[in-house]
């Protein structure tokens, strides 16, 4: 469990139109946390894929499901961002959520591949009492070798 509260916690409905504003928020936030342009794009892509999966599979495209996005800024054991995406939709055995063989050229099923590829951690859990939780974590490149410098001008220390 997380010992600290999330820096941001959003609740959205399971509507595809809401993916774009969530991406915009996440890109802005992760840039200020020290991710470079490519990393912010990847982070937004991972969350976008996660939300799309919840909308399509968890809620079967119902527009009234609720999704929570919590963003944690972690410093130990290394500086990283942790994003938890929770829903109340259909539960799936986490062991059954797997990437697919990319040698097979067919539409669909790429979301898990993408999330795993662009993040350091991609872990699915069953929520209690219902729904699923996805944990995504990513460390900014260069965070380990210049941690003091990277702390300047970041949202969590108030130096802008």
């Amino acid at each position: 469990m997380n010992p600290q509260p999330p820096a941001i916690r959003l609740e959205i409905l399971s509507q595809a139109d809401l993916l774009a504003p969530v991406r915009a928020m996440l890109i802005s936030f992760s840039e200020r946390f020290g991710f470079d342009e490519i990393e912010t794009g990847h982070l937004a892509l991972a969350v976008d894929e996660a939300l799309a999966n919840v909308i399509r599979h968890g809620y079967e495209s119902r527009p009234d499901g609720r999704i929570w996005i919590s963003i944690f800024l972690m410093e130990e054991p290394e500086r990283r961002i942790r994003i938890e995406i929770e829903d109340e939709g259909r539960q799936t055995d986490p062991a059954q959520i797997t990437s697919r063989d990319l040698a097979e050229v067919r539409p669909g099923g790429l979301g898990v591949n993408i999330m795993q590829e662009v993040t350091d951690t991609c872990e699915f859990q069953r929520r209690t009492p219902g729904g699923m939780r996805l944990i995504l974590e990513k460390t900014p490149r260069g965070a380990a070798d210049s941690s003091d410098q990277n702390h300047a001008g970041t949202p969590e220390n108030g130096k802008q």
């Binding site: 409905l13 509507q15 595809a16 139109d17 809401l18 993916l19 774009a20 991406r23 490519i38 794009g41 990847h42 937004a44 892509l45 976008d48 894929e49 799309a52 909308i55 399509r56 495209s61 527009p63 990319l102 040698a103 050229v105 067919r106 539409p107 669909g108 790429l110 979301g111 591949n113 993408i114 590829e117 662009v118």
Partner: protein
Amino acid sequence: MNNGQEMEIQVENRDDSVVVTPMGEVDLARSPSLRSRLKQVLGESPNRLVVDLSQVPYMDSSGVATLVEALQQCRAHDCSLFLAGLQDRVRSVFEIARLDTVFNITADTTSALDA
């Protein structure tokens, strides 16, 4: 709000080729609009379809899936499909999905029409 947004898509006929230019981000909300337009264009049996992605700054896997569907339809109807002008972020999605070697990807529309 609802699930689905029309996106601006330009379609231009050039001899026996068609250039389709979607404008803006392609995600779960907008990919159905692109899918519908590509299906309509392919129904006219062009010899070559060029999808100009130079005006697309972002694409998720639903957009990629839409283009894979178009590729399969093209192969079934002896039509050549080219993706032109991919921005770095969009290209990286194709690379992650290892589809950058499956599609004919060109620097721009002119290169695709000359190929």
